[in-house]
């Protein structure tokens, strides 16, 4: 039964609930409804059942985008975390001013606007006169078309992504490292453990919850990848994904269908397919973690 003593509490959470309902729940519900309609945002919508979902799933761009996404996640998440972990170890090995200095330097790409970061990297990747190709030329190596060769484009994107995200993950991992009791390391050293053994037998196991967080966060972010490939390929709503769609990802495809073709029903359906994938992957990760914790 409803207890009157909860009224003040409910009143206190009401502003949040109202805003949450208007700006979060309503768009989700209306988006879900529109995913069953043929709708261009201005004219009368037409119910089409599951046609939007069928059209998306059977489209060649969807297959390509999902393939790219899978390849991207498999590489970028572990590489990104490994780089962040190494940076955290490096920063942790310094003390005082130098620790703050390197932490700030490595964190800088995180605060850089993505547009600026992509512009810098487009210049770095420029054939012949870009930083990387000038360096290669210095060693007598031929110029590489990093953003136009389908065999290098994904790795070029991953390099930028790792560069941008490593600082954030490093700060989280570093905070986790600071919470590991120092006596574990002292005991290990007394037992003759090497630095590598300390990392594998103390640091990594003790960081398990932190690594789980950065992995989950990394996977969810990677599933929604959009701005970096969009900017690196100079995409627009009418043309996106780069050479042979080598950098086409689901959110780009969704945006193109919505704002490029005014197929907002399809875009909404795409959003729900993607949401389902994200929720499923996250649920599986949490389930695996729970299973791993059970005796």
């Amino acid at each position: 039964m409803f207890d009157k003593k909860h009224i003040p509490h409910l009143l206190m959470v009401f502003p949040f609930l109202a805003l949450f309902a208007v700006f979060f729940l309503y768009p989700i519900v209306s988006g879900f409804v529109y995913s069953f309609y043929d709708w261009n945002a201005t004219t009368t919508s037409r119910f089409v059942g599951l046609a939007n979902y069928q059209r998306i799933v059977h489209s060649r761009d969807f297959s390509k985008a999902m393939w790219n996404l899978g390849s991207y996640i498999i590489i970028t998440v572990p590489v990104g975390i490994a780089v962040a972990f190494c940076l955290a170890l490096l920063v942790d090995s310094f003390k005082g001013f130098w620790q703050n200095f390197f932490r700030s330097i490595f964190f800088m790409p995180v605060v850089l606007p993505m547009f600026l970061a992509a512009t810098i990297w487009r210049w770095i990747y420029t054939p012949n006169i870009g930083l990387l190709n000038t360096t290669r030329g210095f060693f007598g190596l031929p110029s590489v078309q990093f953003l136009n060769d389908t065999s290098t484009m994904l790795y070029s994107l991953i390099a930028v992504d790792v560069w941008v995200s490593a600082g954030f993950n490093m700060v989280i991992i570093l905070a986790g490292m600071k919470n590991i009791p120092r006596q574990y390391y002292e005991a290990a050293r007394l037992d003759g453990a090497s630095k590598l053994q300390e990392i594998f037998y103390i640091t990594i196991p003790m960081l398990y919850p932190v690594l789980f967080f950065v992995t989950t966060y990394g996977v969810i972010s990677a599933l929604q990848v959009f701005d970096t490939p969009w900017l690196l390929t100079g995409s627009s709503f009418s043309q996106y994904g780069g050479r042979q769609n080598a950098l086409l990802f689901p959110v780009m495809d969704m945006m193109g269908r919505g704002f490029g073709e005014l197929k907002f029903g399809q875009a909404a359906a795409y959003g729900f397919i993607l949401t389902t994938v994200i929720v499923s992957v996250t649920a599986v990760m949490f389930a695996l973690r729970k299973k791993g914790h059970q005796p």
């Binding site: 201005t42 512009t119 420029t126 054939p127 100079g234 709503f237 009418s238 042979q244 193109g256 005014l262």
Partner: protein, 424 residues
């Protein structure tokens, strides 16, 4: 021939009449939101746009006009979402390539009645083909044509000289052009940007062998008009060009950087790049010129053309918004606009004026537009699905990379474009 002064007076009279007809409402304070391309909202272009606004306000003191610059995607997105939310800008620019999309979204008012109410001199000041472009069916007109372009080819004279190419001799045909590319590559430089990366570049090349009626789509039959045999020749050209390309698209900043730093011989693009190259000529000694895009056979030329337009939203300010659009597109303003930017525009009367006809950039754009193929015709009739453009680029890239032969590629292209148009 009626003098400019008479034409101006007639325009002013028509606008004044329209304003009077508007009655008491005309005296109410009105604020127009005016969206323009971002490069028209900065520097000298912005000053001239603001001058147009101030001049218009002398006859319409109750009207305030807020000008905002937007990127290409922002213009379209803002107009579509504005139509959905009932918050459209009153008068705005956009490109004809998205015209059909805007019509579908209800962004554009049919201004046929307003246009026909204007003096004959005003109506006849436009290129008739462009008025036809804005009028997809009888008694329907969705835009006032504004600026336009025909693509041509910038040539880096230093790169050509270093490669032993005589830039004074015109490029005869594709074979001659390829031999120049080979020499450029042999000298350690790039010849052209990757012509398969942007659909506009593909049209640039295809138009060197095809006629205007062999491009675009028939939205009634849902079939592409691409000529398979001629497209196979274009694909063969992409295969032949592939070893000489820079790997950058015509729109990349890197392409301009390569050209300015004497690493790239040819850049096929529109006249908007010229200010960058002119500045580089002053500051870093860049030596360049521009010529028409070579065609497959001697005497044929390639190139793509496109137009920007001014549209009016179907809202309560539509009448005064049209009056402002008509003021901006009158010959006198179009002439000032062309002189300032050295840019070709839709006013045939302004383009015929000796003061702009002699401008070399406008002259080459005029010639280029005469030879070029329209980007995504027919305009304002059917919206091209995104798959159309991605199929074009994917197909050209697959063939250029050696994935399939040009003949098979052209056959696949036609099939895939037809499937795409049919909604597959």
């Amino acid at each position: 021939m009626i003098s400019t002064r008479y034409m101006h007076a007639a325009c002013a009279l028509a606008l004044a009449t329209a304003a009077t007809i508007s009655g008491a409402r005309a005296q109410e304070p009105v604020t127009l939101e005016y969206w323009v391309y971002s490069d028209f909202a900065q520097g000298e272009a912005l000053k001239l746009q603001q001058a147009f606004i101030e001049e218009f306000r002398k006859t319409h003191p109750n009207v305030t006009i807020n000008i905002s610059g937007k990127g290409d995607d922002d213009l379209t997105t803002g107009q579509v979402t504005g139509a959905a939310s009932g918050n459209l800008p009153d008068v705005f620019m956009n490109g004809v390539n998205v015209g059909a999309t805007l019509v579908e979204a209800g962004v554009l008012k049919n201004i046929y009645a307003e246009f026909m109410a204007m003096p004959k001199e005003y109506r006849q000041s436009f290129d008739p083909a462009l008025i036809a472009m804005c009028s997809p069916k009888p008694e329907t007109m969705y835009c006032l044509p504004y600026t336009g372009y025909g693509s041509f080819m910038f040539r880096n004279l230093t790169v050509l000289k270093d490669a032993g190419v005589d830039a004074a001799a015109p490029i005869k045909d594709w074979a001659d052009w390829l031999s120049q590319m080979e020499k450029v590559k042999a000298s350690g430089k790039y010849a052209v940007p990757d012509q398969t990366q942007a659909w506009q570049s593909i049209v640039d090349t295809y138009s060197g062998v095809a006629t205007p009626d062999e491009w675009g789509a028939d939205f009634e039959t849902k079939k592409t008009k691409v000529n398979e045999a001629k497209y196979a020749q274009t694909l063969q050209m992409f295969v032949d060009m592939q070893p000489y390309t820079s790997g950058t698209s015509r729109n990349d900043q890197a392409t301009k950087d390569l050209f300015i730093s004497n690493q790239l011989a040819f850049h096929l693009v529109g006249p908007w790049v010229n200010p960058t190259y002119a500045e580089a000529a002053k500051t870093s000694g860049l030596k360049y010129d521009y010529v028409l895009v070579p065609g497959k056979a001697e005497g044929d030329y390639g190139g793509i053309k496109g137009y920007e337009f001014i549209g009016v939203a179907p809202n309560k300010n539509a009448q005064v918004a049209f009056e402002f659009a008509a003021y901006v597109t009158a010959k006198e303003q179009m002439l000032r606009w062309a002189k300032l930017l050295s840019r070709y525009n839709a006013s045939a009367a302004a383009m015929a004026d000796p003061s702009v006809a002699s401008d070399p950039l406008i002259a080459i754009t005029n010639k280029a537009a005469a030879n070029a193929i329209d980007g995504m015709p027919p305009y304002f009739k059917g919206a091209y699905p995104n798959c159309y453009r991605s199929i074009l680029t994917d197909n050209a890239q697959t063939v250029a990379d050696g994935g399939v032969t040009p003949q098979d590629g052209a056959k696949e292209l036609v099939e895939e474009l037809n499937e795409c148009l049919a909604g597959g």
